[in-house]
Structure formats: structure tokens, C-alpha cells
């Protein structure tokens, strides 16, 4: 809005205020002249992308006009603008085909969250107290530019980037930004990043990426601790396939067996749930392979490279008899034999391992064993249920957990932190790492921390400068889903609405910053805006596809991205040469804490509503009853009723969950679907700070985790902690279901 508009408008509102203005403060606001024209009551649909997990679903945003209170040019006023009212799946998008999960549906609340950061903030009080004062963008950026220059002059290694794993244009931008400045490579961190499985796929199949499970072609699914219908990999795509698998093929209903220590939302759908001792999923896979190799006379070579990775495979896994495996896993030998026979009898069959199965010190061996089993079953490849989405560019990342630990160690290695400036973007490691990693202590020692966050969370509250990003619906978005789709996909979306607050898109801020810093950066990052960067990337894609660049761009914007229509088109997808040829030996998982002192296996799991905690600030999700426990607005610990009775604990009692690394308190929910020596707890609550809805609510299971890791990838073995439990009083549970969890039996009258 320019000055003239503003004057016109002031006159207009002065008149209106004279008529109706007294009383309500809303009426005294300036009414800005609309920047775009809207027909009242008519909805427009604009493609966008769901930013909440790595699945990368395409969404359609329903935009309608409305009066928003906004700040423009330093003035607060009402602006008639297009507002996103609802998110739905983009029907054309190959990943989610018009469907969207609960978290994706709730993502719209991120835009309108009352605690969103509305303008740049500068720290005022002590670090971590959350006291900030607003600054304007120019001042904020000059401060940052000055700092950056100072760091670069001193030693570029003093600059660090910490974010969740990035893909597409943002990754290109950030990596080129850092590389040009000769700064260290970006550090990516995400709790449930599945780097173990990626690494295993690289070793087994030469693909360092998550697999795509095409359940609609499977006849038998054996799940190993993978919550593939809820929170794992590409849940919407997998759920679509699951519907087909069950009832989409007349006369052919797929069978589904889930093996896991605690019934997950996914396991709840299984025809058969088999509890297994945590960390022994790999042993089961090897036991099944043993039966197939020895009874079904499958040749050992049928598993190809994937089999060669396993020590003893080519010899037919002689040690892994069902009896030996039964001893480890707690599953009867007969049952193991039966499962193996079923896998053969119901081809194509697929084994899906993920989540807690791989979050062990032996996670890589487990993943490799499952890969080999799948290869033996012949289900990997273009026609089988396990496929690999062609990737237009390299997806390989340095194993994230290891890089974060390296960063922390680097900061703590010297009395004065060698990292002088930390740029923080969409990662919350203070919340999502075990205390022994000392992330908070490390961040505290960095002299200047800049956050691009839209909210003050456990990590960004430590920032010295907050440069709030646009949220996804206000930004140019792109993404390259690595699984969940058969054709290669590069998603693209223009902003679905104008920014609500005085925020700026992170990529544009980086570009702005590079102009301010100047020099080599200007040449390396020639784009004026992120939009231009994306356009350049799509022009390259268009060239590769031999299409007209303008039409290609326009079509991508309309559809929500580019994907090859016939599903057969394979973009250049690098196959990694096997990093190593050595064989992996399966070792029993190492657990932190002795069985005697810490009798219970502690199983954190990604929660249905909050995943890893990034969506805990959304009231819709706080009030979403967890489907298995019906709990809302809090944390809980799941306990087998027999165990609870033995310990004198009843539902709703508060318990201390103590590991060697800490104690947390949460109320108990009794569940028949959990092994007696396992306690489970959802991740997502227990934020020290994360808006009015999530701050100091519930408990954070990560805060008691041991810092064990999978040795090859350095991934956190987040399911490898043992705990003890003690009743601590009466807790408070908020349950949606006030009744029984089962139909009452016709008992004795």
C-alpha cells in the first residue's frame, strides 16, 4: 500500500468511525485498502505443501476473503484479504492423492496461532527467560549482517547452521550460502529421521532413501514396530494403499500381522498382534529368513546384495533357528515357522520395519536383515510392494544425529565457543535430544543465536535475535518427497495468502543478507528472491523434460508441482555405490540400565497428534483424543494392567519414571496392548516453552533417554533405555472417553 492509498483510506475510515466508531476498539482500527479483490463468500483453491513431516503431502488451501488485523508500514489496521480457511489434500498430488492426515488438517492453525511471532525480536532479558523486544526488520538485518561480517572476518568456521533436514530449493540455497562463505556444512537434526533405514537401504539396495511401500499390490504385510499408518514414513500414502489392500480388490483381502512390544495405531489394525521383546525385531527377521532358506528352499542368492550384507546369510543362517530366535524374541518357534510359511503362501508379501525397531544400537543390522528378507521374498523392485521413488537430485545427507553431536562437542570443546553465530531454523534440539547430549548447554555458550522460528520454543527461546519466517501458506514452497510416490515429484506452491504479520521468508532473508554481506555471495546467490530461485530450478527441470519453460512453470504452479504423469518416467536418480562391502553381524541390542535396577523397557513413540512435538502448540491437536487412549491435553505412561496391579498402581496414578539419566512424572493409562515389561510414552509434550497451549504441559520422555546410539550412523537409539517406575501420587488424566475401553462382559449377575 502506498502513501496515497493510505490517505484515501484514512479519510474513508474517519467517516465510518464517525458513524459507527464509538465503543468497540475494532471499529477504531484503520481500514486498509484491499490489495486484491475478493468476491465475498466465494472460495478459491490454491495448492500448497504440508510442512509438518517428511512425507511432503500436497495440499489445497481453501481461501476466502475476511478482515484480518494486520500491521502494514508500522500501522495496525484491518485489511480485507484472502484467508486460508481449510486445508485439504491435493487430489492431483501423487503422494497423498487428495487425502490428508490429522496433523496436516490442523496445520492451518499455525497461520492464525495467537502466539505467533509477529515481528522481529531482540533479546532483552537474560537468555532463556523469553523476554524480547520488537525491532524493525532493517535494524534486525543490519545487526545480523554486522555480526556475520565479523564472524567471517574472524573465522568462517564460527558460523553454524542448524535446522531440520532440508530438501529442494532451501537445501540448495542454504548449502550454497554456507559453502560460499567457507562455513561448515549445515547441521540437520530431526528426532525421527530414519537415517538408519536410509543407510541400510544404501547398503542393501544402493538407494539412500526411504522406501515407498505400495501396499495396494501386497497380499501380506508383516510390520515390525513400524507405525506406517500413523506417523512413519509417508503415512497418508501408506493408508491409501492399506485401504486398497484390505477392501479395494474384490475377493482378495490382504493379511496384516504386526509385531511390536506395544500396539500402535497401526498395530491396532492388524489381524494378529504379536508382542516381541524390544530390540529383537532383527532376530525375528533372521529367524524368518532361516525358515525360508531352509524349509522353503529359497536360494540364498535370491536376496542379492541385500543378503550379502548379512553375516551368515550365504550359509543359510544356520544359527538362526526358530528355537534360537524364540529365546531372544519371546515369540514361540512354531509361530515363527507359521509366519514364515504365511509369507511364502501369500506372495507378494512385504516386511516393514521402522520406528522403535531401528532406534536401537543394533538398528542397522535389523534394517539390513529386514531388507534381505524382503529381497528374499522378491518384493523389492518396480513390481513389488517395496519401491524407490526416483529422485531428481541427491538425497544423501550426512547422518544428522552425528553432525549435531559433533557441533555440540565442538562448541563445548573449548572454554570459549568456537561457534560464534548460530542460525537456527525449524529445529528444536533442546527438546528433542537426550539431556546427556548437552545441547542446551552448548547453545547457551554460542555468543549469538539467530532463530527464524515463528514460535518461541524450547530452543528458539535461547535466541538473541528472532527473524520470524512466513509460515508455509504465506511462502513460496517446494519439496522433493523421497517416498510415498511412484513417479518422481517436485512439489511447488506459491503463497496461498498474504502474510498476516510483519514476517519475512527465511530464504529471502538469506538472500537479503547475502546482498548486505556482498562479495562472493552475490555471485553464488544471484537470485533476487526465493521465487526466482525456484523458477530457475523448474527451468532446469523443464529443460530436462524438453518442455517450454513458461508453460512448465505455470502448470506446476496450478497443479502444485511437477511429476511425471505416466509413473514410468525416471528422472536421473543416483544410485550410490555401496559404501562398504563388509558384512554386518547382528548383535543383540544394548540397553541402558540393568534389568535388576531398571526392570522396564522404556518405549517412547511418535504421537498421533504431535509427531515429535512440533505440532504440540496447535489447540486442535491438543484436544484431539489419542485414538488408543483417548487422552487429550497431556502426557501419559502406558502400563500393562498386570504390571500395574503388581506395583499397586491404578489408572490415573502419577508415577515417577526414572532412568539412569533422569526422572519424569506422568499419569498412568492401563493398556492391555503392551508387554508387561514395557512402558510406553508418547513424544510431543513436556515443552518448557512452546506457546500458551503447550508450555509446561505434560512430560517429555526424551528427557530421560540414554545417549546410546547406533554405532555406524550415530543415530540416537531412542528406544534403548530401561527405567524403573514408582507411584508418586494421584495424577490428572484428560480422557475423551469417560467409559470402558471394552464392551462389558455378561458377568455374574
Amino acid at each position: 500500500m502506498d502513501r496515497r492509498d493510505f490517505i484515501k483510506l484514512s479519510a474513508l475510515t474517519a467517516g465510518a468511525a464517525g458513524l459507527a466508531g464509538c465503543g468497540h476498539p475494532d471499529h477504531q482500527l484503520i481500514r486498509f485498502l484491499p490489495e486484491e479483490s475478493w468476491i465475498p463468500g466465494v472460495a478459491t483453491w490454491r495448492p500448497s505443501l504440508c510442512p509438518l513431516c517428511a512425507a511432503g503431502c500436497g495440499v489445497m488451501a481453501r481461501v476466502m476473503e475476511g478482515d484480518a488485523e494486520v500491521v502494514r508500514n508500522g500501522r495496525t489496521g484491518l485489511l480485507r484479504m484472502g484467508l486460508v480457511k481449510k486445508l485439504e489434500g491435493n487430489p492431483a498430488h501423487p503422494v497423498n492423492r487428495g487425502k490428508l492426515c490429522a496433523r496436516g488438517q490442523a496445520a492451518v492453525q499455525i497461520v492464525y496461532h495467537p502466539d505467533r511471532i509477529r515481528q522481529p525480536l531482540k533479546r532483552r532479558g537474560e537468555r532463556g527467560t523469553g523476554e524480547f523486544e520488537p525491532v524493525d526488520w532493517d535494524e534486525a538485518l543490519s545487526t545480523l549482517a554486522a555480526r556475520l561480517k565479523q564472524v567471517l572476518d574472524d573465522d568462517p568456521a564460527g558460523l553454524a547452521w542448524l535446522s531440520r533436514p532440508l530438501r529442494g530449493g532451501k537445501r540448495v540455497l542454504v548449502e550454497r550460502f554456507l559453502a560460499t562463505l567457507a562455513a561448515p556444512a549445515p547441521v540437520y537434526f530431526e528426532l525421527f529421521d530414519e537415517s538408519v533405514l536410509r543407510w541400510a537401504n544404501r547398503l542393501s539396495f544402493g538407494r539412500e532413501q526411504m522406501p515407498t511401500y505400495t501396499l495396494s499390490v501386497a497380499n501380506y504385510v508383516l510390520g515390525l514396530s513400524a507405525d506406517f499408518l500413523g506417523t512413519w514414513n509417508s503415512p497418508v500414502a501408506q493408508a491409501i494403499g492399506y485401504g486398497e489392500f484390505r477392501q479395494g480388490r474384490p475377493g482378495r483381502r490382504g493379511k496384516f500381522v504386526q509385531v511390536e512390544p506395544r500396539v500402535s495405531q497401526t498395530g491396532a489394525n492388524a489381524d494378529e498382534w504379536i508382542p516381541i521383546r524390544p530390540g529383537t525385531e532383527g532376530a525375528l527377521a533372521l529367524g524368518l529368513a532361516h525358515v525360508l532358506l531352509n524349509e522353503a528352499r529359497r536360494p540364498t542368492t535370491a536376496a542379492g546384495t541385500a543378503g550379502e550384507r548379512i553375516e551368515g546369510w550365504l550359509q543359510g543362517l544356520p544359527e538362526w533357528t526358530p528355537e534360537a530366535v524364540a529365546e531372544q524374541t519371546g515369540i514361540e518357534a512354531e509361530r515363527i515357522r507359521r509366519l514364515a510359511r504365511e509369507l511364502i503362501a501369500h506372495e507378494p508379501a512385504v516386511v516393514i520395519a521402522g520406528g522403535a525397531a531401528l532406534a536401537q544400537t543394533n538398528g542397522l543390522a535389523t534394517a539390513l536383515a529386514v531388507n534381505a528378507l524382503n529381497a528374499l521374498l522378491g518384493c523389492v523392485g518396480a513390481l513389488g510392494p517395496v519401491r524407490f521413488t526416483p529422485q531428481p537430485e541427491s538425497t544423501g545427507l550426512a547422518p544428522p544425529h552425528r553432525t549435531l553431536r559433533a557441533l555440540v562437542q565442538k562448541i563445548l570443546s573449548r572454554p570459549e565457543s568456537p561457534v560464534k553465530l548460530l542460525l537456527l531454523y525449524e529445529a528444536n534440539p533442546v527438546f528433542a535430544t537426550p539431556p546427556a547430549w548437552q545441547v542446551a548447554a552448548a547453545l547457551d555458550r554460542v555468543p549469538f543465536v539467530v532463530s527464524f522460528g515463528s514460535f518461541l520454543d524450547d530452543t528458539s527461546i535461547l535466541a538473541d535475535l528472532v527473524l520470524p519466517d512466513h509460515v508455509f501458506l504465506e511462502s513460496w514452497m517446494d519439496d522433493v518427497p523421497e517416498s510415498g510416490t511412484e513417479p518422481a515429484v517436485v512439489s511447488l506452491a506459491a503463497p496461498a495468502m498474504r502474510p498476516l504479520h510483519n514476517t519475512r521468508a527465511m530464504p529471502d532473508v538469506l538472500l537479503d543478507l547475502s546482498r548486505r554481506v556482498g562479495g562472493r555471495l552475490n555471485e553464488a546467490l544471484p537470485w533476487k528472491s526465493y521465487e526466482e530461485l525456484l523458477r530457475a530450478r523448474f527451468d532446469a527441470l523443464a529443460r530436462r523434460a524438453g518442455a517450454d519453460a513458461d508453460a512448465f512453470w505455470k502448470q506446476a504452479l496450478e497443479r502444485g508441482g511437477w511429476w511425471s504423469d505416466n509413473g514410468g518416467t525416471r528422472a536421473a536418480a543416483p544410485r550410490h555405490a555401496a559404501a562398504t562391502t563388509r558384512q554386518i553381524r547382528y548383535q543383540p541390542a544394548e540397553m541402558d540400565g540393568s534389568v535388576e535396577e531398571f526392570p522396564f523397557h522404556f518405549l517412547p513413540y511418535a504421537s498421533q497428534a504431535f509427531y515429535d512435538g512440533t505440532t504440540a502448540h496447535l489447540p486442535w491437536l491438543q484436544e484431539l483424543p489419542d485414538v488408543l487412549t483417548t487422552a487429550m491435553w497431556g502426557s501419559w505412561v502406558e502400563l500393562n494392567p498386570q504390571t500395574a496391579e503388581r506395583l499397586g498402581i491404578r489408572q490415573g496414578d502419577l508415577v515417577d519414571v526414572t532412568s539412569r539419566h533422569g526422572t519424569l512424572q506422568a499419569p498412568v493409562i492401563l493398556s492391555t496392548g503392551i508387554a508387561p515389561d514395557v512402558v510406553a510414552m508418547p513424544v510431543g509434550q513436556g515443552h518448557r516453552a512452546f506457546t500458551r497451549y503447550a508450555s509446561r504441559r505434560g512430560a517429555n520422555p526424551i528427557s530421560v533417554l540414554a545417549p546410546l546410539e547406533e554405532p555406524e550412523t550415530g543415530a540416537l537409539a531412542w528406544a534403548a533405555t530401561r527405567v524403573q517406575i514408582r507411584r508418586a501420587g494421584v495424577g490428572r488424566l484428560v480422557l475423551f472417553s469417560g467409559g470402558l475401553s471394552r464392551f462389558p462382559h455378561p458377568e455374574e449377575r
Binding site: 483417548t630 472417553s737 469417560g738 467409559g739 470402558l740 475401553s741 471394552r742 464392551f743 462389558p744 455378561p746 449377575r749
Partner: protein
């Protein structure tokens, strides 16, 4: 004889004509408690009905319990006095007015509860059938509309039933009092003279009213039971409900009447008028109703138990052995185990023990209403959506306030109106009073019927 008549007047009109400071003090105290109820109600209207303890699925709680309870109490009066009047039971004479007053006040209080419990009480008038701008009439299929008609009919009917025999007593006060009382009571007496024609018409009217009011009373509590029985809620959807509620209503009404009489007797020194025989007779009635109540609850529970419908059994178990069991067994004690021995064993049958039994029944019947409403709603068909209920201070305050309100109304009534029908009491002393239908033919012959003159 004239001395006696004056003494009766003195005894029975004294509370009307003289007021002690203690009365004012009591009125203020009781009135304060009642006023608290209005404060709580105002708080509820201002903040939303959510300040009450109801929730999903127990959408009805204390308020509807109180509604059913007070409507039940209202059956004390009119029904009992009408039946006794028709049966020409002489001992009824000092009892009828106390009883009828209970009816009117209990109905007034009970009828408030459907309004108190509304989510949007300011729109309560939408329940009334009147031509309106919305062009929308209320839904006559709804038992709540039936309640509206039944309660209004009953309230009007019992008010008139109470009012008519008061006219001669108003005339009496008018004739005895001086000053403002004379004017006010003169106006209230509507020019009552006491001619034989008036006496005759009054008695005929009372006879017809008694005949009419009994079926109305029966219908009122049947309809209150229909509020529940028309919904497919486990243990509500029952054919036994209408008579079960009517019996329960009479039961609790009788108990309330006994309590009221005992209080009046003590406070107004009416020992000579409300005598042991009255308590003994009412006690016998209470005993009969207690047995009848037990018969109903037995029939209801036995049927459910044999039916073994899963949904009904859930409610059955919740009340009998589940979370509501303590309340249930207290109810059985109060309504059956306590009153039956107290009222059967002659040695125990004193005024005091009758009062104790009545007190038990009032408590027990309140619990019975609660136990009909809450456990059933809390255990409907889908166990996932079962729930619980706990009242809040708002509901408790309003409940207590209505009891205070009842006491207050009764105190004011006893202050303004002779609480024992003076003329009916006097008639009771006539040696031939009960034989007036059989006037000796010799006397009758000398009479020239007015019509043929």
C-alpha cells in the same frame, strides 16, 4: 359452646393476627438462603450453564432431579386431600390445607427447574404455545410440552382447590380483624357471607374439584415419567415408569406432609388439632406407599435382571454394585428398611418415629430421582461414551435454596392464612357432621325446596 368456638378462633387465627420477632428473624434467615439460590442462578445465567456439573453424556443432573422431586412432593397435597375428601374421612379436616399448600408451593418450585436447567433460559418463552413472529409453534410431540400443560393445569387446579375453602376463613379473619387486615381479608374473602346456598355450592364445587384433581395429579407425574420413558435410554424406556412415578410421588408427598405437620404442630402449638391419630393415619398411608414403592422397584429391577439386556444391565450394575451402589442402598434403607419397621411395630409408632420415617423417605425419594436420572445417562449404549457426574456449588446452592424457599413460602403462608381450615375444623365437631346426607325425614318434610317455591 361459644367459648370453644372463640378458642378455636384464637388458636387457629393467632399466627395470622400476632407475629413474634422470632418469626421475622427466621424469615430473614431462610430468605437469605433462598436468595442465595437466585444469586447462584444469576451467576449461572451470566457465565453459562457450564458452571453446573453436568457434562456429556450426563446432560441432566441435580436440576432435573429437583424438578422430579418437587413435582413428586406436590402430590402430597391435593391428591391426598382430594382422596380423603371423597372418602369423607373425618380426620382429614386439619390436614387438608397444610397438604394443599405443599402442593402449590412444591409445584411452583418444581416448575422453576426446567427453566433453571435451560442452556438459554432467556428464550424459555419459546416453549409456550402462542402465536409469534417466528411463525413456529412448539413441538407437541415433546414430553416437555406435555409437562408444560400438565403442570400448568395442575398448578391452577390445586391453587383453586386450595383457595376455595379459604374463602370462609378469610371472611372469618375479616370479621375478627381491624385495620388493614380487615380491608385486605375483606377483599380476599370476595364478599363471603355464609348463607346456606354458599355453603352448599362451595361443598359441591369442592366435591367436583376433588374428582377432577385426582386424575390430573396422576397425569402430571405420569407425564414427568414420560420425560424419561419416551427416550431410548437404558432403564428409562420402561412401561412401568408412569405408575412407578405416581406411586413414588404420593410416597414422597406424604412424607413431606408429615414433616410439615410436625413442624406446624410444634411451632404453632397446634398439639390439640394435629393429634397422634393424624400422624398415625398418615403413617399407615406412608407404610402402604412404602410397600408399594418397594413392589415397583422390585418389579422394575427383576424384569431388567431377567431381561439381561446388556445396556440395561450396565445401568443395573452401576446402581446396584457399581459407583452408585452406596446411594442406591441408602435409598433402599431410607425408603423401605427404615420406615417399614417404624410404622408397623405398634410400640414404635409414635409421632416422633413417624417423623423420622418421613424424613428418611424424603431423603430416599430424592436419591431415587437422582438414581433414575444420572446412572442411566452415564451408561448409555456405547461404553466408550460413558461418563460421570458431580454437582458443583451452583447446583448445590440452588438445591438447598429451593428447600429454604419451600420453608419460606410455607412460613409466610402460615402467617397469612389459617393453616388449619377453621370452618372445616368446626364442622368436624358437629355431632351429626358426618351424617348430613341423612337428615331426619321429619325435618326434611318441613322444608320447602327453594326451586319449587
Amino acid at each position: 359452646m361459644e367459648k370453644t368456638a372463640s378458642r378455636i378462633n384464637d388458636d387457629l387465627l393467632r399466627p395470622v393476627l400476632e407475629t413474634s420477632p422470632r418469626f421475622y428473624l427466621a424469615v430473614v434467615l431462610v430468605g437469605l438462603v433462598a436468595a442465595l439460590g437466585f444469586v447462584a442462578w444469576g451467576y449461572q445465567i451470566w457465565n453459562g450453564i457450564g458452571v453446573a456439573g453436568i457434562s456429556r453424556p450426563v446432560f441432566w443432573g441435580f436440576y432435573i432431579t429437583n424438578f422430579v422431586f418437587w413435582i413428586g412432593i406436590s402430590h402430597a397435597g391435593t391428591l391426598i386431600s382430594a382422596i380423603l375428601r371423597l372418602a369423607n374421612a373425618g380426620w382429614r379436616r386439619p390436614v387438608t390445607r397444610c397438604a394443599e399448600a405443599i402442593t402449590v408451593f412444591a409445584l411452583m418450585i418444581g416448575a422453576m427447574f426446567p427453566l433453571i436447567h435451560l442452556g438459554r433460559p432467556w428464550l424459555a418463552f419459546w416453549l409456550f404455545p402462542y402465536p409469534n413472529e417466528r411463525g413456529l409453534w412448539p413441538n407437541f410431540r415433546s414430553p416437555l410440552l406435555w409437562d408444560f400443560f400438565a403442570i400448568n393445569t395442575y398448578l391452577l387446579g390445586s391453587f383453586l382447590f386450595l383457595l376455595l375453602p379459604m374463602l370462609p376463613d378469610f371472611a372469618l379473619v375479616r370479621d375478627r380483624a381491624r385495620g388493614w387486615r380487615q380491608r385486605v381479608y375483606g377483599w380476599l374473602a370476595l364478599g363471603w357471607e355464609g348463607t346456606p346456598r354458599q355453603w352448599h355450592r362451595l361443598e359441591t364445587a369442592m366435591h367436583i374439584m376433588a374428582v377432577l384433581i385426582i386424575p390430573v395429579a396422576v397425569s402430571v407425574h405420569s407425564i414427568v415419567s414420560f420425560d424419561f420413558a419416551m427416550s431410548p435410554v437404558p432403564m428409562w424406556h420402561s412401561t412401568i415408569f408412569a405408575p412407578y412415578f405416581v406411586a413414588g410421588a404420593i410416597f414422597s408427598g406424604l412424607a413431606a406432609l408429615i414433616l410439615a405437620m410436625a413442624l406446624l404442630r410444634k411451632l404453632l402449638h397446634l398439639e390439640e388439632y394435629l393429634r397422634t391419630e393424624h400422624f398415625s393415619n398418615l403413617g399407615k398411608l406412608l407404610l402402604v406407599m412404602s410397600l408399594l414403592w418397594f413392589y415397583f422397584i422390585f418389579a422394575e429391577r427383576l424384569t431388567v435382571w431377567y431381561g439381561n439386556d446388556p445396556a440395561e444391565m450396565a445401568v443395573f450394575r452401576a446402581t446396584q454394585s457399581g459407583p452408585y451402589a452406596p446411594l442406591f442402598w441408602v435409598m433402599v434403607f431410607c425408603n423401605f428398611l427404615l420406615p417399614v419397621p417404624l410404622l408397623t411395630i405398634p410400640r414404635l409408632r409414635t409421632i416422633a418415629s413417624t417423623v423420622v420415617a418421613a424424613l428418611g423417605v424424603v431423603v430416599g425419594m430424592w436419591l431415587e430421582r437422582f438414581l433414575i436420572i444420572v446412572p442411566a445417562l452415564a451408561h448409555k449404549f456405547l461404553p466408550y461414551s460413558w461418563g460421570t457426574y458431580a454437582p458443583t456449588w451452583v447446583e448445590i446452592t440452588i438445591t438447598v435454596a429451593t428447600f429454604a424457599g419451600m420453608v419460606l413460602l410455607y412460613m409466610l403462608f402460615a402467617k397469612l392464612v389459617p393453616v388449619i381450615s377453621v370452618w372445616e375444623w368446626k364442622v368436624g365437631r358437629h355431632p351429626l357432621a358426618e351424617q348430613r346426607a341423612e337428615i331426619s325425614p321429619a325435618v326434611a318434610k318441613t322444608v320447602a325446596p327453594e326451586g319449587s317455591a
